[in-house]
């Protein structure tokens, strides 16, 4: 059981009725309160204005055009309500989606996940919590692809450094990375320093800023 924590109030935007119901059930089970579940971007804007939730969970493709209404609404909401946590769900990897979202509101309290992640319930819920707590979450698949795309500048990184970078980009702390790779936290710190140096990025102690620097670098290289 998780430790008792205040209920996280969620506005959910998803046009598929089945998945919307499923998500409502899932969130309710894990200590979230879904204050509004809507099916399109316009209703999402209204619901957020009305309920002032802690978290917005939105599909990117929604009526009427099924392109990126959810994403545009999310970016807009973050501009209007600074500090609002937003997690966007995407059907497929699209780097510009991730970039648009991560560019908003300093890149804190923001998540970009592939829709299929919702079926891994504990991981999904953990990611939502991390975002509400101020973290930045980018789907591992997105990171993997960005790393693949940017083969050339990253060629300078060692295999170990690349592993570390992928974990950094997933928003993990140095301690968490150390646990995953079974090395000391100091070693992780050294790796991160080397990576930032090799990519000409400013060194920083803030995980989110670090992630964003890396992602901005990756998405900027088109």
């Amino acid at each position: 059981m998780q430790p008792q924590r205040p209920v996280i109030r969620v506005v959910l935007a998803e046009d598929g009725v089945l998945l919307r119901e499923g998500l409502v059930g899932l969130l309710g089970r894990f200590g979230f309160e879904v204050v509004a579940a809507v099916g399109d971007a316009e209703a999402l804007g209204r619901a957020v204005a009305e309920h002032a939730p802690d978290l917005v969970l939105t599909d990117i493709r929604m009526p009427p055009d099924f392109t990126d209404e959810g994403l545009r609404a999310a970016v807009e909401l973050r501009r209007a309500h600074p500090g609002l946590a937003v997690v966007a769900l995407s059907q497929y990897v699209e780097q510009s989606y991730a970039a648009d979202l991560l560019d908003s509101d300093g890149g804190r309290r923001v998540g970009y996940l592939l829709k299929d992640r919702v079926v891994d319930v504990p991981e999904f819920v953990g990611a939502l919590r991390q975002v509400v707590d101020g973290g930045t979450i980018v789907d591992p698949e997105v990171v993997r692809r960005l790393l693949r795309r940017q083969r050339d500048p990253l060629a300078r990184l060692s295999a170990r450094e690349r592993e570390v970078l992928a974990l950094v980009a997933e928003g993990r702390s140095n301690a968490a990375i150390a646990r995953v790779l079974v090395v000391s936290e100091a070693a992780v710190g050294k790796h991160v320093g080397n990576i930032l140096a090799k990519l000409d990025l400013p060194p920083t102690e803030d995980t989110n800023r670090r992630v964003l620097a890396v992602l901005a670098y990756l998405t900027g290289q088109r």
């Binding site: 598929g16 089945l18 998945l19 119901e21 499923g22 998500l23 059930g25 899932l26 089970r29 493709r61 099924f66 392109t67 990126d68 059907q91 497929y92 990897v93 699209e94 780097q95 510009s96 829709k115 299929d116 919702v118 079926v119 891994d120 319930v121 504990p122 692809r145 693949r148 795309r149 083969r151």
Partner: protein
């Protein structure tokens, strides 16, 4: 050209047993039916051509006409004949093609195009702008003049032969002398040699008659039947259009299937997998059902991925949603060989072009991964004016050959459907460059 069975009157004339076949009778039937048709055609044509006939009738006095009148009459005749002539010539062509069967057993098809729509305006536009109509008008003019005279003369000759043979009877039944051509006979005795002459002629005359009818038929076929070239071109245009229509329909169908799968099966499957995931959390790890639920959940996840892949192959959603550059980047992500993408397009392209371009890149990247042995590929796309140019290059071993294997042929076919061009440079040792140019007009969504 010695066929067992002659197919035309002209072929049959050269056969020894010509007189014993049905061909002379067919020639006769053709000659007999020509004058009525020709006359029926000559009267309206003559009316339409009155201004010209008037000019012709002036003969040498033409020079004394004022220039304005001359020009006016010339123009009026041209307008009348050009304007109303086809209305006569087109149905006449149909009749003459039917009559042609008498002297030519080969099938004959009209050279007319099918009007694009069923309204009169579209019929007129098609008829007045195609060569078949004006060739028919030319035939009508010939029929109303030269052919009318010749067939008339041939029938007169036939009549003369008949009179020669029947001379004794005419003398017996008639009152006094009978005039035969240039002479006169008064008695049966005098008439008998003419009968013999007539009988001899009866054997000879079918040949020139058949030649005349056969030549007429040849002329009719030349002017009224769609030349193979013209017909082939028309058919080719039709085939290309229907092929493009098929591809469009096919593409639309794929989109529909993709949409149905995505909106139906996929949504349900995600929901089901989510429920299994929830159940997995709820069921205590040491309970008997836990392993089964965990297994079902894992299987459902695999199935989810497989269905997603299937849908992507039917019609990539990213292409529908985000357009070609995003879809190509997505393809590059999936590729086993590292691919760099440089695609800058001003906007969305027509569906057919997008689908074809995507197919080209997908196929090319598959080929590179399978056959090239290359370590890097590059996709480049630009649109200039109304031309989308795609280039896919790799640093593999080269030697790609459209003749070997169907992949490249299939590509060329897909590109050809929308009037595109495909160029391939793949020397042994590489590099391989595939360049595809697709005509497209920008559409603003």
């Amino acid at each position: 050209m010695s066929r067992r069975n002659p197919r035309t009157l002209l072929e049959s004339v050269t056969r020894r047993r010509f007189l014993l076949t049905g061909w002379p009778w067919r020639a006769l039937a053709y000659l007999l039916t020509t004058p009525p048709v020709a006359l029926a055609c000559a009267v309206p044509l003559g009316l339409l051509g009155l201004p010209w006939l008037f000019l012709l009738s002036r003969g040498t006095g033409l020079a004394r006409l004022p220039l304005g009148v001359l020009a006016f009459l010339l123009l009026l005749g041209a307008v009348l004949l050009g304007g109303f002539g086809p209305l006569l010539a087109v149905p006449l062509g149909g009749l003459e093609r039917a009559r042609l069967r008498l002297v030519d057993s080969r099938p004959v098809a009209a050279g007319h195009r099918t009007p694009p729509a069923r309204d009169p305006w579209s019929w007129f536009r098609t008829r007045y702008t195609e060569p078949a109509t004006w060739l028919a008008l030319g035939y009508a003019a010939l029929l109303a003049t030269v052919l009318l005279v010749l067939s008339g003369a041939a029938l007169a000759l036939l009549l003369l032969v008949g009179v020669l043979i029947a001379a004794p009877l005419l003398v017996v039944s008639g009152e006094g002398a009978v005039s035969i051509g240039v002479t006169q006979v008064a008695t049966v005795g005098e008439a008998l040699p003419y009968t013999l002459l007539g009988l001899v002629l009866l054997v000879v005359v079918p040949y020139p008659m058949a030649l005349l009818a056969g030549t007429h038929g040849l002329l009719a076929r030349t002017l009224l039947a769609g030349g193979t070239h013209a017909r082939l071109r028309t058919e080719l245009v039709e085939v290309s259009r229907s092929r493009a229509r098929l591809v469009d329909a096919f593409e639309a169908e794929r989109r529909r299937i993709e949409r149905d799968l995505h909106d139906g099966a996929q949504q349900r499957l995600v929901s089901l997998t989510l429920q299994l995931g929830l159940a997995r959390v709820e069921i205590p790890a040491d309970s008997p059902g836990a392993a089964a639920v965990a297994d079902a959940h894992e299987q459902a996840k695999v199935f989810m991925m497989e269905l997603r892949e299937l849908i992507r192959n039917i019609h990539p959603k990213v292409l529908t949603d985000r357009g070609l550059p995003a879809a190509v980047r997505d393809l590059a992500d999936q590729s086993a060989v590292p691919v760099t993408v440089d695609a800058e397009l001003p906007g969305r392209l027509p569906n057919a072009v997008e689908a074809t371009a995507y197919f080209v890149v997908a196929e090319a990247l598959t080929n590179i991964a399978k056959h090239s042995g290359g370590t890097a590929a590059r996709v480049w796309a630009r649109q200039r004016d109304d031309l989308l140019t795609l280039e896919v290059r790799d640093d593999g071993r080269g030697g790609a050959d459209p003749g070997r294997g169907t992949g490249l042929t299939g590509l060329a076919d897909r590109v050809a459907v929308i009037d595109g061009r495909m160029l391939l440079s793949s020397p042994p040792g590489g590099p391989t460059l595939l360049r595809v140019e697709l005509p497209c007009s920008r559409n603003d969504p």
